[in-house]
Protein backbone atom coordinates (compact mmCIF):
# COMPACT_ATOMS: atom_id res chain seq x y z
CA UNK A 1 0.00 0.00 0.00
CA UNK A 2 2.66 2.48 -0.93
CA UNK A 3 1.82 6.03 -1.90
CA UNK A 4 3.08 5.44 -5.44
CA UNK A 5 0.29 2.95 -5.93
CA UNK A 6 -1.56 3.83 -9.10
CA UNK A 7 -4.97 2.85 -7.75
CA UNK A 8 -4.55 4.78 -4.55
CA UNK A 9 -7.48 7.09 -4.00
CA UNK A 10 -6.12 10.51 -4.91
CA UNK A 11 -5.78 13.12 -2.22
CA UNK A 12 -8.26 15.84 -2.95
CA UNK A 13 -8.05 19.55 -2.31
CA UNK A 14 -11.03 19.47 0.02
CA UNK A 15 -8.76 19.27 3.03
CA UNK A 16 -8.78 23.08 3.26
CA UNK A 17 -12.54 22.91 3.93
CA UNK A 18 -12.20 20.37 6.71
CA UNK A 19 -12.84 21.60 10.21
CA UNK A 20 -10.35 21.64 13.04
CA UNK A 21 -12.03 18.65 14.61
CA UNK A 22 -11.47 16.57 11.47
CA UNK A 23 -7.82 17.51 11.48
CA UNK A 24 -7.36 16.83 15.17
CA UNK A 25 -8.96 13.40 14.74
CA UNK A 26 -6.65 12.47 11.91
CA UNK A 27 -3.64 13.93 13.76
CA UNK A 28 -4.34 11.90 16.85
CA UNK A 29 -4.41 8.71 14.77
CA UNK A 30 -1.24 9.51 12.86
CA UNK A 31 0.52 10.53 16.08
CA UNK A 32 -0.29 7.25 17.77
CA UNK A 33 0.41 4.94 14.82
CA UNK A 34 3.35 5.85 12.62
CA UNK A 35 2.55 3.36 9.85
CA UNK A 36 -0.97 4.60 9.36
CA UNK A 37 -1.60 6.68 6.27
CA UNK A 38 -4.27 9.38 6.27
CA UNK A 39 -5.64 9.15 2.73
CA UNK A 40 -7.78 12.26 2.85
CA UNK A 41 -9.50 14.62 5.22
CA UNK A 42 -12.62 16.03 3.62
CA UNK A 43 -15.34 17.87 5.51
CA UNK A 44 -16.79 15.25 7.89
CA UNK A 45 -15.12 12.38 6.05
CA UNK A 46 -11.75 10.96 7.05
CA UNK A 47 -10.13 7.98 5.47
CA UNK A 48 -7.36 6.02 7.15
CA UNK A 49 -5.38 3.31 5.39
CA UNK A 50 -3.81 0.75 7.70
CA UNK A 51 -1.93 -2.49 7.29
CA UNK A 52 -3.89 -5.57 8.14
CA UNK A 53 -1.62 -6.53 11.03
CA UNK A 54 -2.42 -3.24 12.74
CA UNK A 55 -6.11 -2.97 12.08
CA UNK A 56 -7.32 -4.33 15.42
CA UNK A 57 -5.09 -1.95 17.36
CA UNK A 58 -6.16 1.03 15.29
CA UNK A 59 -9.83 0.06 15.53
CA UNK A 60 -9.59 -0.34 19.30
CA UNK A 61 -7.91 3.06 19.53
CA UNK A 62 -10.64 4.63 17.40
CA UNK A 63 -13.32 3.07 19.57
CA UNK A 64 -11.80 3.80 22.95
CA UNK A 65 -10.12 7.17 22.45
CA UNK A 66 -12.03 8.75 19.58
CA UNK A 67 -15.52 7.49 20.60
CA UNK A 68 -16.57 5.94 17.31
CA UNK A 69 -18.89 3.19 18.47
CA UNK A 70 -20.48 1.44 15.50
CA UNK A 71 -19.85 0.48 11.90
CA UNK A 72 -22.27 1.75 9.28
CA UNK A 73 -21.09 -0.38 6.41
CA UNK A 74 -18.31 -2.66 5.36
CA UNK A 75 -17.55 -2.51 1.67
CA UNK A 76 -15.06 -4.66 -0.12
CA UNK A 77 -13.45 -3.34 -3.28
CA UNK A 78 -11.54 -5.56 -5.65
CA UNK A 79 -8.35 -4.27 -7.33
CA UNK A 80 -7.19 -7.06 -9.65
CA UNK A 81 -4.28 -5.08 -11.13
CA UNK A 82 -2.74 -4.70 -7.65
CA UNK A 83 -3.67 -8.26 -6.75
CA UNK A 84 -5.34 -6.86 -3.66
CA UNK A 85 -8.77 -6.60 -2.14
CA UNK A 86 -9.61 -3.59 -0.05
CA UNK A 87 -12.09 -3.65 2.80
CA UNK A 88 -13.43 -0.31 3.99
CA UNK A 89 -15.17 0.01 7.36
CA UNK A 90 -17.30 3.14 7.68
CA UNK A 91 -17.41 4.00 11.34
CA UNK A 92 -19.77 6.44 13.01
CA UNK A 93 -20.66 7.59 16.48
CA UNK A 94 -23.97 7.72 18.33
CA UNK A 95 -22.67 8.65 21.76
CA UNK A 96 -20.48 11.66 21.03
CA UNK A 97 -22.54 14.61 19.85
CA UNK A 98 -19.57 16.36 18.25
CA UNK A 99 -18.98 13.35 15.97
CA UNK A 100 -22.53 13.12 14.64
CA UNK A 101 -21.61 14.17 11.13
CA UNK A 102 -18.30 12.38 10.95
CA UNK A 103 -17.69 9.16 9.11
CA UNK A 104 -14.30 7.58 9.57
CA UNK A 105 -13.38 5.18 6.81
CA UNK A 106 -10.91 2.59 8.01
CA UNK A 107 -9.43 0.79 5.03
CA UNK A 108 -7.15 -2.18 4.82
CA UNK A 109 -5.96 -4.47 2.07
CA UNK A 110 -5.34 -8.15 1.72
CA UNK A 111 -3.67 -10.12 -1.08
CA UNK A 112 -5.94 -11.65 -3.67
CA UNK A 113 -5.56 -14.86 -5.60
CA UNK A 114 -6.56 -15.51 -9.17
CA UNK A 115 -8.17 -18.84 -8.38
CA UNK A 116 -10.01 -18.11 -5.19
CA UNK A 117 -10.90 -20.83 -2.73
CA UNK A 118 -12.79 -18.78 -0.15
CA UNK A 119 -11.57 -19.57 3.35
CA UNK A 120 -8.66 -21.73 2.20
CA UNK A 121 -6.37 -19.23 0.48
CA UNK A 122 -4.30 -16.24 1.55
CA UNK A 123 -7.19 -13.76 1.25
CA UNK A 124 -7.66 -13.30 4.97
CA UNK A 125 -8.16 -10.41 7.35
CA UNK A 126 -8.51 -10.19 11.11
CA UNK A 127 -12.15 -9.76 12.07
CA UNK A 128 -13.21 -6.57 13.81
CA UNK A 129 -16.20 -8.30 15.38
CA UNK A 130 -14.74 -8.16 18.87
CA UNK A 131 -14.12 -4.42 18.54
CA UNK A 132 -17.34 -3.48 16.75
CA UNK A 133 -20.05 -6.16 17.16
CA UNK A 134 -22.08 -4.36 14.49
CA UNK A 135 -19.82 -5.61 11.69
CA UNK A 136 -20.73 -9.26 12.16
CA UNK A 137 -23.27 -9.58 9.33
CA UNK A 138 -21.40 -7.14 7.11
CA UNK A 139 -18.29 -9.30 7.33
CA UNK A 140 -20.30 -12.40 6.51
CA UNK A 141 -21.58 -10.62 3.42
CA UNK A 142 -18.05 -9.54 2.49
CA UNK A 143 -16.83 -13.12 2.83
CA UNK A 144 -19.31 -14.51 0.34
CA UNK A 145 -19.24 -11.55 -2.04
CA UNK A 146 -15.46 -11.16 -2.27
CA UNK A 147 -14.03 -14.26 -0.64
CA UNK A 148 -12.27 -12.41 2.17
CA UNK A 149 -12.06 -14.78 5.13
CA UNK A 150 -12.25 -13.00 8.48
CA UNK A 151 -10.04 -14.73 11.01
CA UNK A 152 -11.69 -14.75 14.41
CA UNK A 153 -15.23 -14.39 13.10
CA UNK A 154 -17.20 -17.30 14.60
CA UNK A 155 -19.82 -17.39 11.91
CA UNK A 156 -18.17 -17.24 8.50
CA UNK A 157 -21.14 -18.82 6.78
CA UNK A 158 -23.01 -18.00 3.63
CA UNK A 159 -25.62 -15.29 4.00
CA UNK A 160 -27.22 -14.03 0.79
CA UNK A 161 -26.12 -16.29 -2.04
CA UNK A 162 -27.83 -19.61 -2.76
CA UNK A 163 -26.57 -22.62 -0.80
CA UNK A 164 -25.28 -24.31 -3.96
CA UNK A 165 -23.27 -21.33 -5.22
CA UNK A 166 -20.10 -22.86 -6.66
CA UNK A 167 -18.78 -19.99 -8.79
CA UNK A 168 -16.15 -17.48 -7.70
CA UNK A 169 -17.34 -14.70 -5.37
CA UNK A 170 -19.56 -12.47 -7.51
CA UNK A 171 -18.24 -9.03 -6.63
CA UNK A 172 -14.74 -9.83 -7.83
CA UNK A 173 -13.88 -8.05 -11.03
CA UNK A 174 -13.07 -11.24 -12.93
CA UNK A 175 -16.61 -12.49 -12.34
CA UNK A 176 -18.23 -11.26 -15.53
CA UNK A 177 -21.95 -10.98 -16.06
CA UNK A 178 -22.98 -13.02 -19.07
CA UNK A 179 -23.34 -10.91 -22.19
CA UNK A 180 -21.73 -7.80 -20.71
Amino acid sequence: MSSTDSTEIAKTDDSSLASDLDKSLSDSISKKFSNVEIAYVKPDRIRVNVKKEEIIDVASFIRDELNFDHAESVSGVDYPEDKQIEVVYHLGSYTDASLDKKILALATRTPREDNPRPGNDSTKLPSLRDVFPSVSFHERECFEMLGVYFVGHPDNRRLLLPEDWADIPPLRKDFRIKGR
Binding site: A10, H70, L171
Partner: protein, 384 residues
Protein backbone atom coordinates in the same frame (compact mmCIF):
# COMPACT_ATOMS: atom_id res chain seq x y z
CA UNK B 1 -23.82 -31.30 23.01
CA UNK B 2 -27.14 -31.03 21.33
CA UNK B 3 -26.34 -28.33 18.81
CA UNK B 4 -22.88 -29.48 17.85
CA UNK B 5 -22.13 -30.10 14.23
CA UNK B 6 -21.49 -33.70 13.37
CA UNK B 7 -17.76 -34.03 12.54
CA UNK B 8 -18.48 -35.80 9.28
CA UNK B 9 -20.63 -32.96 8.04
CA UNK B 10 -18.03 -30.26 8.43
CA UNK B 11 -16.93 -30.70 4.85
CA UNK B 12 -20.40 -30.02 3.50
CA UNK B 13 -21.08 -26.59 2.10
CA UNK B 14 -21.89 -23.90 4.63
CA UNK B 15 -25.57 -23.62 5.34
CA UNK B 16 -26.22 -27.26 4.57
CA UNK B 17 -24.68 -28.77 7.68
CA UNK B 18 -26.68 -31.48 9.34
CA UNK B 19 -26.98 -31.05 13.04
CA UNK B 20 -27.60 -33.66 15.67
CA UNK B 21 -31.16 -33.71 16.84
CA UNK B 22 -32.18 -33.28 20.43
CA UNK B 23 -35.50 -34.59 21.70
CA UNK B 24 -36.19 -31.44 23.61
CA UNK B 25 -35.19 -28.81 21.06
CA UNK B 26 -37.31 -28.44 17.96
CA UNK B 27 -36.08 -26.66 14.85
CA UNK B 28 -38.70 -24.53 13.18
CA UNK B 29 -38.33 -22.97 9.75
CA UNK B 30 -40.39 -19.80 9.53
CA UNK B 31 -40.60 -18.82 5.90
CA UNK B 32 -40.10 -18.14 3.06
CA UNK B 33 -43.69 -19.28 2.60
CA UNK B 34 -45.26 -18.09 5.79
CA UNK B 35 -47.54 -15.16 6.59
CA UNK B 36 -45.29 -14.17 9.47
CA UNK B 37 -41.99 -13.99 7.69
CA UNK B 38 -41.99 -12.01 4.49
CA UNK B 39 -39.37 -12.79 1.90
CA UNK B 40 -36.98 -14.49 4.26
CA UNK B 41 -36.49 -17.52 6.43
CA UNK B 42 -35.89 -17.48 10.15
CA UNK B 43 -34.54 -20.72 11.55
CA UNK B 44 -35.72 -20.96 15.12
CA UNK B 45 -34.82 -23.53 17.74
CA UNK B 46 -37.52 -23.72 20.35
CA UNK B 47 -37.62 -25.35 23.73
CA UNK B 48 -41.27 -25.66 24.62
CA UNK B 49 -42.61 -22.21 23.98
CA UNK B 50 -39.32 -20.34 24.20
CA UNK B 51 -36.91 -19.53 21.42
CA UNK B 52 -33.42 -20.66 22.34
CA UNK B 53 -31.61 -19.93 19.10
CA UNK B 54 -32.35 -17.67 16.12
CA UNK B 55 -30.65 -17.80 12.78
CA UNK B 56 -31.97 -15.38 10.17
CA UNK B 57 -31.52 -16.62 6.63
CA UNK B 58 -31.99 -13.73 4.20
CA UNK B 59 -31.01 -13.70 0.55
CA UNK B 60 -34.19 -14.90 -1.12
CA UNK B 61 -34.37 -11.68 -3.11
CA UNK B 62 -30.65 -11.15 -3.60
CA UNK B 63 -30.53 -9.73 -7.12
CA UNK B 64 -26.98 -8.47 -7.31
CA UNK B 65 -27.74 -4.74 -7.47
CA UNK B 66 -24.17 -3.85 -6.58
CA UNK B 67 -22.72 -5.92 -9.38
CA UNK B 68 -25.25 -4.57 -11.87
CA UNK B 69 -24.36 -1.01 -10.92
CA UNK B 70 -20.80 -1.59 -12.11
CA UNK B 71 -22.06 -2.16 -15.65
CA UNK B 72 -24.37 0.83 -15.95
CA UNK B 73 -23.53 4.50 -16.06
CA UNK B 74 -24.57 7.02 -13.46
CA UNK B 75 -27.91 7.81 -15.11
CA UNK B 76 -28.98 4.33 -16.15
CA UNK B 77 -28.34 3.10 -12.64
CA UNK B 78 -31.36 5.00 -11.37
CA UNK B 79 -34.24 2.63 -12.23
CA UNK B 80 -32.78 -0.54 -10.77
CA UNK B 81 -31.38 1.12 -7.66
CA UNK B 82 -34.85 2.08 -6.48
CA UNK B 83 -36.23 -1.44 -6.79
CA UNK B 84 -35.00 -2.76 -3.41
CA UNK B 85 -37.58 -0.56 -1.66
CA UNK B 86 -40.09 0.40 -4.28
CA UNK B 87 -42.43 1.92 -1.71
CA UNK B 88 -39.61 4.13 -0.43
CA UNK B 89 -37.94 4.67 -3.77
CA UNK B 90 -37.23 8.38 -3.37
CA UNK B 91 -35.27 7.82 -0.19
CA UNK B 92 -33.09 5.07 -1.59
CA UNK B 93 -32.20 7.23 -4.58
CA UNK B 94 -31.50 10.23 -2.37
CA UNK B 95 -28.01 9.23 -1.15
CA UNK B 96 -27.11 8.01 -4.62
CA UNK B 97 -28.00 11.37 -6.15
CA UNK B 98 -26.22 13.27 -3.38
CA UNK B 99 -23.15 11.12 -3.88
CA UNK B 100 -23.10 11.47 -7.66
CA UNK B 101 -23.60 15.22 -7.34
CA UNK B 102 -20.60 15.36 -5.05
CA UNK B 103 -18.60 13.29 -7.53
CA UNK B 104 -19.55 15.37 -10.54
CA UNK B 105 -19.56 18.69 -8.70
CA UNK B 106 -23.16 19.58 -9.48
CA UNK B 107 -25.13 22.30 -7.75
CA UNK B 108 -28.83 21.51 -7.37
CA UNK B 109 -31.33 24.35 -8.01
CA UNK B 110 -33.13 25.63 -4.94
CA UNK B 111 -36.61 24.62 -6.10
CA UNK B 112 -35.44 21.09 -6.83
CA UNK B 113 -34.14 20.76 -3.29
CA UNK B 114 -37.57 21.54 -1.90
CA UNK B 115 -39.28 19.23 -4.37
CA UNK B 116 -36.92 16.49 -3.29
CA UNK B 117 -37.77 17.01 0.35
CA UNK B 118 -41.51 16.94 -0.38
CA UNK B 119 -41.21 13.78 -2.46
CA UNK B 120 -38.99 12.10 0.11
CA UNK B 121 -41.36 12.88 2.98
CA UNK B 122 -44.43 11.74 1.04
CA UNK B 123 -42.59 8.57 0.23
CA UNK B 124 -41.67 8.07 3.87
CA UNK B 125 -45.40 8.21 4.69
CA UNK B 126 -46.11 5.66 1.95
CA UNK B 127 -43.49 3.35 3.33
CA UNK B 128 -44.54 3.65 6.95
CA UNK B 129 -48.21 3.14 6.12
CA UNK B 130 -47.39 -0.07 4.28
CA UNK B 131 -45.19 -1.20 7.15
CA UNK B 132 -47.94 -0.41 9.64
CA UNK B 133 -50.51 -2.30 7.58
CA UNK B 134 -48.33 -5.39 7.58
CA UNK B 135 -47.67 -4.95 11.28
CA UNK B 136 -51.41 -4.93 11.82
CA UNK B 137 -52.01 -8.10 9.84
CA UNK B 138 -49.06 -9.79 11.57
CA UNK B 139 -50.78 -9.23 14.88
CA UNK B 140 -54.11 -10.38 13.50
CA UNK B 141 -55.58 -6.89 13.47
CA UNK B 142 -57.31 -6.77 10.09
CA UNK B 143 -58.66 -3.25 10.46
CA UNK B 144 -55.14 -2.02 10.92
CA UNK B 145 -54.34 -3.60 7.57
CA UNK B 146 -57.20 -1.86 5.80
CA UNK B 147 -56.89 1.62 7.28
CA UNK B 148 -53.23 2.33 6.48
CA UNK B 149 -53.59 0.64 3.10
CA UNK B 150 -56.42 3.04 2.30
CA UNK B 151 -54.75 6.15 3.68
CA UNK B 152 -51.56 5.25 1.91
CA UNK B 153 -53.33 5.84 -1.38
CA UNK B 154 -53.65 9.54 -0.53
CA UNK B 155 -49.88 9.96 -0.53
CA UNK B 156 -49.54 7.69 -3.53
CA UNK B 157 -51.99 9.92 -5.40
CA UNK B 158 -49.89 12.96 -4.61
CA UNK B 159 -46.72 11.24 -5.74
CA UNK B 160 -48.55 10.02 -8.82
CA UNK B 161 -49.41 13.62 -9.69
CA UNK B 162 -45.87 14.72 -8.96
CA UNK B 163 -43.90 12.02 -10.73
CA UNK B 164 -46.25 10.09 -12.97
CA UNK B 165 -45.85 6.70 -11.34
CA UNK B 166 -47.52 4.96 -8.45
CA UNK B 167 -44.56 3.45 -6.66
CA UNK B 168 -41.47 3.39 -8.84
CA UNK B 169 -40.99 7.09 -9.37
CA UNK B 170 -37.37 7.42 -10.52
CA UNK B 171 -38.00 11.06 -9.65
CA UNK B 172 -34.58 11.94 -8.32
CA UNK B 173 -31.79 12.36 -10.84
CA UNK B 174 -28.27 13.61 -10.23
CA UNK B 175 -28.63 17.37 -10.53
CA UNK B 176 -32.22 17.81 -9.43
CA UNK B 177 -35.53 16.15 -10.06
CA UNK B 178 -36.91 14.78 -13.29
CA UNK B 179 -39.82 17.16 -13.80
CA UNK B 180 -41.62 20.04 -12.20
CA UNK B 181 -44.90 19.64 -10.34
CA UNK B 182 -48.22 20.23 -12.10
CA UNK B 183 -49.98 23.65 -11.63
CA UNK B 184 -52.32 23.61 -8.59
CA UNK B 185 -50.29 20.86 -6.88
CA UNK B 186 -49.66 22.89 -3.74
CA UNK B 187 -53.34 23.28 -2.92
CA UNK B 188 -54.16 19.64 -3.54
CA UNK B 189 -51.15 18.55 -1.51
CA UNK B 190 -52.05 20.78 1.42
CA UNK B 191 -55.63 19.57 1.46
CA UNK B 192 -54.73 15.91 1.27
CA UNK B 193 -51.99 16.20 3.87
CA UNK B 194 -54.38 17.86 6.30
CA UNK B 195 -56.89 15.07 5.83
CA UNK B 196 -54.12 12.48 6.09
CA UNK B 197 -52.98 13.90 9.40
CA UNK B 198 -56.53 13.82 10.71
CA UNK B 199 -56.73 10.15 9.82
CA UNK B 200 -53.41 9.42 11.48
CA UNK B 201 -54.74 10.65 14.80
CA UNK B 202 -57.49 8.05 14.64
CA UNK B 203 -54.93 5.26 14.64
CA UNK B 204 -54.34 5.89 18.31
CA UNK B 205 -57.88 4.84 19.20
CA UNK B 206 -57.94 1.67 17.21
CA UNK B 207 -54.35 0.51 17.41
CA UNK B 208 -52.00 2.21 19.80
CA UNK B 209 -54.41 2.44 22.73
CA UNK B 210 -55.76 -1.02 22.06
CA UNK B 211 -55.22 -3.17 25.17
CA UNK B 212 -54.61 -6.28 23.06
CA UNK B 213 -51.83 -4.60 21.12
CA UNK B 214 -50.32 -3.20 24.29
CA UNK B 215 -50.33 -6.57 26.02
CA UNK B 216 -48.76 -8.22 22.99
CA UNK B 217 -46.02 -5.70 22.37
CA UNK B 218 -45.21 -4.05 25.71
CA UNK B 219 -42.06 -5.46 27.32
CA UNK B 220 -41.37 -7.85 24.47
CA UNK B 221 -38.07 -7.77 22.68
CA UNK B 222 -36.44 -5.10 24.79
CA UNK B 223 -33.36 -3.57 23.21
CA UNK B 224 -31.37 -1.56 25.73
CA UNK B 225 -29.69 1.69 24.78
CA UNK B 226 -26.21 0.18 25.08
CA UNK B 227 -27.08 -2.78 22.88
CA UNK B 228 -28.73 -0.57 20.28
CA UNK B 229 -25.54 1.45 19.99
CA UNK B 230 -23.26 -1.57 20.12
CA UNK B 231 -25.17 -3.45 17.43
CA UNK B 232 -25.19 -0.41 15.20
CA UNK B 233 -28.96 -0.35 14.71
CA UNK B 234 -30.50 2.64 13.07
CA UNK B 235 -33.68 4.59 12.48
CA UNK B 236 -36.78 3.85 14.50
CA UNK B 237 -35.14 0.91 16.29
CA UNK B 238 -32.39 3.17 17.59
CA UNK B 239 -34.71 6.04 18.46
CA UNK B 240 -37.07 3.73 20.33
CA UNK B 241 -34.14 2.76 22.55
CA UNK B 242 -33.51 6.31 23.63
CA UNK B 243 -30.78 7.45 21.23
CA UNK B 244 -31.60 10.73 19.55
CA UNK B 245 -30.07 10.19 16.15
CA UNK B 246 -31.75 11.32 12.96
CA UNK B 247 -29.62 12.10 9.93
CA UNK B 248 -32.05 14.85 8.94
CA UNK B 249 -31.09 16.69 12.13
CA UNK B 250 -27.55 15.50 12.69
CA UNK B 251 -26.19 15.77 9.16
CA UNK B 252 -28.78 17.89 7.32
CA UNK B 253 -28.80 17.42 3.58
CA UNK B 254 -30.47 19.67 1.00
CA UNK B 255 -32.85 22.01 2.85
CA UNK B 256 -33.69 20.04 5.99
CA UNK B 257 -31.73 22.58 8.01
CA UNK B 258 -34.25 25.30 7.23
CA UNK B 259 -37.36 23.25 7.92
CA UNK B 260 -39.23 23.04 11.17
CA UNK B 261 -39.53 19.57 12.66
CA UNK B 262 -38.38 17.48 15.57
CA UNK B 263 -37.23 13.92 16.09
CA UNK B 264 -39.18 11.44 18.15
CA UNK B 265 -37.37 9.50 20.83
CA UNK B 266 -38.79 6.95 23.24
CA UNK B 267 -36.88 5.30 26.05
CA UNK B 268 -38.58 1.93 26.49
CA UNK B 269 -36.89 0.03 23.68
CA UNK B 270 -39.63 -2.59 23.44
CA UNK B 271 -41.76 -3.59 20.47
CA UNK B 272 -44.45 -1.10 21.40
CA UNK B 273 -42.03 1.82 21.33
CA UNK B 274 -40.55 0.58 18.07
CA UNK B 275 -44.00 0.39 16.52
CA UNK B 276 -44.92 3.85 17.73
CA UNK B 277 -41.90 5.79 16.49
CA UNK B 278 -42.70 5.47 12.74
CA UNK B 279 -46.28 6.58 13.40
CA UNK B 280 -45.01 9.67 15.22
CA UNK B 281 -42.58 10.25 12.36
CA UNK B 282 -45.46 10.59 9.94
CA UNK B 283 -46.78 13.62 11.84
CA UNK B 284 -43.36 15.21 11.48
CA UNK B 285 -43.39 14.37 7.78
CA UNK B 286 -46.68 16.20 7.38
CA UNK B 287 -45.17 19.16 9.21
CA UNK B 288 -42.13 19.16 6.93
CA UNK B 289 -44.26 18.98 3.78
CA UNK B 290 -46.41 21.90 4.91
CA UNK B 291 -43.35 23.93 5.80
CA UNK B 292 -41.58 23.08 2.57
CA UNK B 293 -44.60 24.02 0.47
CA UNK B 294 -44.60 27.40 2.20
CA UNK B 295 -40.90 28.09 1.81
CA UNK B 296 -40.45 26.67 -1.68
CA UNK B 297 -39.50 29.15 -4.42
CA UNK B 298 -42.53 29.52 -6.65
CA UNK B 299 -40.63 29.12 -9.88
CA UNK B 300 -37.24 28.27 -11.24
CA UNK B 301 -35.43 25.42 -12.85
CA UNK B 302 -35.57 21.98 -11.26
CA UNK B 303 -32.69 20.24 -12.96
CA UNK B 304 -29.22 21.09 -14.18
CA UNK B 305 -28.15 19.91 -17.58
CA UNK B 306 -25.78 16.97 -17.57
CA UNK B 307 -23.34 15.85 -20.22
CA UNK B 308 -24.13 12.44 -21.68
CA UNK B 309 -22.34 9.71 -19.73
CA UNK B 310 -20.76 11.97 -17.12
CA UNK B 311 -17.51 10.76 -15.60
CA UNK B 312 -16.54 11.00 -11.96
CA UNK B 313 -13.06 11.78 -10.73
CA UNK B 314 -10.59 9.42 -9.12
CA UNK B 315 -12.15 9.53 -5.68
CA UNK B 316 -14.78 8.05 -3.42
CA UNK B 317 -17.81 9.40 -1.59
CA UNK B 318 -20.00 8.17 1.23
CA UNK B 319 -23.35 9.92 1.60
CA UNK B 320 -26.25 8.99 3.82
CA UNK B 321 -29.83 10.07 4.37
CA UNK B 322 -32.59 9.20 6.80
CA UNK B 323 -34.94 6.85 4.99
CA UNK B 324 -38.17 5.39 6.30
CA UNK B 325 -36.19 2.74 8.14
CA UNK B 326 -33.10 4.67 9.18
CA UNK B 327 -29.78 5.81 7.89
CA UNK B 328 -29.23 4.72 4.30
CA UNK B 329 -25.72 5.19 2.96
CA UNK B 330 -24.12 4.84 -0.44
CA UNK B 331 -20.42 4.31 -0.86
CA UNK B 332 -19.45 5.13 -4.44
CA UNK B 333 -15.90 4.44 -5.58
CA UNK B 334 -15.15 6.20 -8.84
CA UNK B 335 -12.10 5.73 -11.04
CA UNK B 336 -12.71 8.16 -13.82
CA UNK B 337 -15.23 6.00 -15.65
CA UNK B 338 -18.85 6.67 -16.61
CA UNK B 339 -19.78 3.74 -14.36
CA UNK B 340 -19.10 3.48 -10.65
CA UNK B 341 -16.14 1.23 -9.95
CA UNK B 342 -17.89 -0.07 -6.86
CA UNK B 343 -21.22 0.87 -5.37
CA UNK B 344 -22.01 -0.30 -1.90
CA UNK B 345 -25.52 0.26 -0.62
CA UNK B 346 -25.48 0.25 3.15
CA UNK B 347 -29.11 -0.41 3.92
CA UNK B 348 -30.84 0.11 7.27
CA UNK B 349 -32.72 -3.18 7.05
CA UNK B 350 -29.48 -5.10 6.91
CA UNK B 351 -28.14 -3.17 9.87
CA UNK B 352 -31.27 -3.81 11.91
CA UNK B 353 -31.17 -7.49 11.02
CA UNK B 354 -28.21 -7.88 13.38
CA UNK B 355 -30.54 -7.08 16.26
CA UNK B 356 -32.95 -9.87 15.38
CA UNK B 357 -31.09 -12.87 16.88
CA UNK B 358 -30.34 -10.71 19.89
CA UNK B 359 -34.00 -9.84 20.45
CA UNK B 360 -35.74 -13.08 19.52
CA UNK B 361 -33.59 -15.44 21.55
CA UNK B 362 -35.33 -15.92 24.88
CA UNK B 363 -38.69 -14.65 23.67
CA UNK B 364 -41.84 -16.71 23.41
CA UNK B 365 -42.60 -18.06 19.97
CA UNK B 366 -45.90 -16.21 19.88
CA UNK B 367 -44.10 -12.91 20.19
CA UNK B 368 -42.00 -13.59 17.13
CA UNK B 369 -44.08 -11.62 14.56
CA UNK B 370 -44.50 -8.66 16.89
CA UNK B 371 -40.78 -8.42 17.57
CA UNK B 372 -39.65 -9.26 14.08
CA UNK B 373 -41.72 -6.73 12.19
CA UNK B 374 -41.17 -4.01 14.78
CA UNK B 375 -37.54 -4.00 13.62
CA UNK B 376 -38.77 -1.95 10.65
CA UNK B 377 -37.32 -4.50 8.34
CA UNK B 378 -37.91 -4.88 4.62
CA UNK B 379 -36.32 -8.13 3.40
CA UNK B 380 -35.98 -7.11 -0.24
CA UNK B 381 -33.87 -4.16 0.78
CA UNK B 382 -31.66 -6.20 3.07
CA UNK B 383 -30.91 -8.66 0.27
CA UNK B 384 -30.40 -5.98 -2.40
Amino acid sequence: MSNQVHPKDKEILPGLQIEKVDDRIMTLNVGPQHPGSGHMRIILKIDGDYIVHTDPDPGYVHRGEEKMAEYRNYITNIPHLERPVIHDSCNILYPYCLGVEELLGLEVPERAKYLRVIAAELNRCVYIEYWLAIYGIFLGHSTMFMWPMGDRELCIDLLDKMTGARVTHAYFVPGGVRNDIPPNFEDVCLRQINYFEKRLKEYADIFYDNPILISRTKDTGILSREDAIKLGTTGSVLRASGVDFDIRKKEPYDVYEELDFQTNVLKEGDSYARSKIPWLDMFESCRIIRDALKKMPKSGSVRVKLKPKPKGGDTEVYRRVESGRGSLGMHIVSRGLPQPYRLKISVPSFRNLIAMPHLLTGEKLGNMPAVYWSLNYWPVEADR
